[in-house]
């Protein structure tokens, strides 16, 4: 396979429970701080109040928060987009003169999770359609494109928990193919009662703050947030004098074709996704400085992923940042891509918060303290319901 042309990352916006922007989140990661708590925006009937990673209202700009006719997911996407454009030095009028694509991943943002409406309907009442209209208005990629007045391809990826990773990989291919001049790529998702019930029903939710790759891990904690990366062709970015924060070197994806919720026991699809991404990037495993793993904290995911990472990258450190953010579903791949770039810039990765004791079933473990890393290449990978696996390879800017 011929390596793919790199794509420049010229801006990043990120909002999650760890911080209202990327710098704040990275500071929280550096400090090892996190504060999951039981959900405050909804009630549940579970005897255990499972912790989540909620975004405080103050993290979202008020003018965006006030867009109550949109899902919170979509408002998170708008907040992250605004930050990413500021970081990249773009404003909306300038973008309107170009072909600009929007590719965002989500789960909740496209789901007809309309519990209140449905309860009324079931009871024989004739509920109004305000909730349905809100759903129809909230498609994340469409809203971002529409709000900015953009003209170009739009795509909302609904590949469950790999959506954000897939969206960035797909948008990079749009840039390579010349389908647009600039692409806004990432993911967004919000906490909601229905998803909370769903993950608890699968018995993969930890009653405690999650412990990725730890021997005593019991499951994930849900989170919420969004991240958006501004992607451009390197020559285009250079011509306008933009700062390149990183480069998307490669992307790969593959399906386990095995089970709706459990990963393939030998990580079949994940291995293939890694192989494709590395080939596209033109790099070998020893070139990879670190890996931001999916690392949900569920027994199955971490065992399979840990084994694959050890087999393919025996000497490469890996960490899961979900201990700081919770599992943000369709946003996770995007937020973790943002963290991966920031860690490459910083030359270090955070401690694997929640990890204390190695699991004998997992060869390898995340660091227990901040770790300096050397190298110009890093990876972020995602696994998902449906057996989807997706891998992004990032490189530092060319010197």
């Amino acid at each position: 396979m011929t390596p793919a042309a790199p794509v420049a990352v010229t801006g990043i916006g990120c909002i999650c429970a760890a911080g209202g922007d990327l710098d704040a989140a990275m500071a929280a990661l550096a400090a090892g701080s996190r504060a999951p708590h039981p959900p405050t925006r909804f009630d549940t009937g579970h005897p255990t109040r499972y912790p989540v990673f909620e975004i405080p209202a103050g993290f979202v700009p008020q003018d965006i928060l006030d867009k109550h006719d949109l899902f919170l997911t979509t408002r998170f996407a708008l907040a992250a987009t605004r930050m990413s454009l500021a970081d990249a030095g773009w404003d909306a009028p300038a973008l309107r003169r170009l072909r600009v694509g929007v590719c965002l991943g989500t789960t909740v943002g496209c789901s007809m999770d309309i519990e209140g409406f449905y309860r009324q309907y079931r009871s024989g009442a004739h509920p109004g359609l305000e909730t349905i209209e809100r759903f129809l208005r909230s498609n994340p990629a469409a809203v971002v494109s529409r709000e900015l007045g953009l003209d170009g391809p739009v795509q909302t990826v609904v590949n469950a928990c790999s959506s954000g990773t897939d969206a960035i990989g797909i948008a990079a291919s749009w840039i390579r193919a010349g389908a647009c001049d600039v692409a806004l790529a990432g993911g967004a998702d919000e906490l909601c009662r229905i998803i909370y019930n769903g993950f608890i029903s699968l018995m993969i939710t930890d009653e405690q703050p999650c412990r990725p790759f730890d021997r005593g891990r019991r499951g994930l904690n849900l989170g919420e947030g969004a991240a958006v990366l501004v992607l451009e062709g390197p020559a285009f970015a250079k011509a306008r004098g933009a700062r390149t924060r990183a480069r998307v070197l490669g992307y790969g994806s593959a399906c386990d074709a095995h089970h709706l919720t459990a990963p393939h026991p030998q990580g079949r699809g994940l291995r293939r996704a890694f192989a494709e991404a590395l080939a596209a990037a033109g790099v070998a495993p020893p070139d990879v400085a670190f890996i931001n793993a999916h690392g949900t904290g569920t027994p199955d995911n971490d065992r399979v992923e840990g084994q694959v990472l050890h087999d393919l990258f025996p000497h490469t450190p890996f960490v899961s940042t979900k201990g700081y953010t919770g599992h943000t579903l369709g946003a996770a791949g995007a937020i973790e891509a943002a963290f991966t770039v920031a860690c490459l810039e910083a030359g270090s990765i955070p401690a694997g918060v929640g990890f204390a004791e190695a699991d004998p079933d997992i060869p390898g473990a995340p660091p227990v303290a901040h770790l300096a890393v050397r190298g110009n290449v890093a990876i972020s990978d995602s696994l998902a319901f449906g057996g989807n696996n997706a891998v992004l390879v990032f490189g530092c800017p060319e010197p």
Binding site: M112, D113, N197, S201, A254
Partner: protein, 360 residues
């Protein structure tokens, strides 16, 4: 490099398989059914039957499969059979569009905890309620291990999936892609339909009527099996390109030398978008009255386009299209323009997608 159409797989209100599609398109016949009585009443619908799936897949593998996944698997099986492929190889990908996802299962999941309390939430229904469950089930049943993508972009969902599928093929990520769209109809959607649009217009679906709401709800799945080819494409034709953008921004380059299949389906609000975009004098038709209105119906337009390319001629236009705008509606049996076909879909949110297809 060309992207050849190797197979067509369809299941919709007109029936199952490419012959049923061909018959419906040629005859302009719609098969109707009536939605169950809901809080909003009942109306004529275009429903799809998945009974034919058991000819392809062991019943045990389908035991817990919901309707939308059955639709997706059947559509994929039919496309593979049409292409003469028994099992997809590892260089095959899936790009599936859905506007609303597994709504029936989503509401089933809500039922589980509304009836029994939150601790009684059904894990089986939850895991099948995610939007990519149909594509995942398809991959699992048919053993498709390549890239697997589900997109949701309402009316331009199918075009968006096709847009990325073409790039996969062009970049050499895969050799073949099953690309299509799936959506299901159900009681809650029927209620919403009634509340949004009121009683159905008795005149039936008139695709480009801007004064009356005549759309009829539909459901189904349509797949094309696309393949990279460096040689002369086979008999079904090629997908040349997909262009996406916003109505009112850069104007789409709508060709005047092709037959335009408009995604108009009787939604009054969307009809105006077509009137705005399609140049006067264009040759247009539409088929939405055959499969009904649902977000991913463009996948059916693409399948119909492939059937037209195969036949080399146009078929009967839908009722009410003649005189609906400053364009020409071809007569049944008129030769297809040599340049080929354009599929145009305009969304209620202001996006458009233009797909170009031809024989070579």
């Amino acid at each position: 490099m060309r992207t050849a159409i190797r197979g067509i797989g369809v299941v919709g209100g007109f029936g199952t398989g490419v012959e049923a599609l061909r018959g419906a398109v040629a005859g302009g016949r719609a098969v109707t059914s009536s939605s169950p009585e809901t809080a909003g009443g009942s109306r004529e619908t275009r429903r799809a039957d998945t009974a034919a799936l058991e000819a392809f897949v062991d019943r045990r593998a389908l035991r817990r499969m919901d309707h939308i996944s059955r639709l997706a698997i059947l559509g994929a099986c039919l496309a593979l059979r049409d292409a003469g492929i028994d099992r997809p190889d590892e260089r095959t990908g899936v790009a599936l569009a859905t506007g609303y996802g597994p709504t029936g299962t989503t509401f089933g999941f809500l039922d589980s905890f509304i009836d029994g309390g939150d601790p009684c939430s059904s894990p089986t229904l939850f895991s099948s309620s995610v939007h990519n469950a149909p594509a995942a089930n398809l991959a699992s049943v048919l053993g498709v291990t390549g890239p697997n993508l589900t997109v949701s972009q309402f009316e331009v969902s199918a075009s968006s999936a096709l847009f990325t599928a073409l790039l996969w093929l062009d970049a050499g990520r895969v050799d073949r892609v099953l690309v299509g769209g799936v959506d299901e109809y159900g009681e809650v959607l029927g209620y919403c339909w009634e509340r949004f649009f009121g009683a159905a217009d008795a005149s039936g679906c008139r695709p480009l009527d801007t004064r009356r709401q005549t759309a009829l709800p539909g459901e189904g799945c349509a797949f094309l099996l696309l393949e990279r080819t460096t040689g002369v494409p086979g008999g079904v034709g090629v997908i040349e390109s997909v262009q996406m953008g916003r109505v009112g921004a850069t104007a789409p380059q709508i060709p005047s030398d092709r037959l335009l299949i408009l995604g108009a389906d009787g939604h009054r609000r969307c009809a105006g978008g077509y009137l705005q975009l399609v140049p006067p004098g264009s040759v247009v038709t539409s088929f939405g009255h055959l499969w009904g209105s649902f977000p991913t119906a463009t996948a059916f337009d693409a399948a119909a386009g492939a059937v037209l390319l195969q036949s080399g001629k146009t078929f009967a236009p839908p009722p009410g299209l003649e005189g609906s705008g400053p364009w020409r509606v071809p007569a049944a049996g008129e030769p297809l323009p040599a340049a080929g076909i354009g599929l145009l879909r305009v969304s209620s949110g202001g996006e458009y997608a233009l797909t170009l297809m031809s024989l070579a």
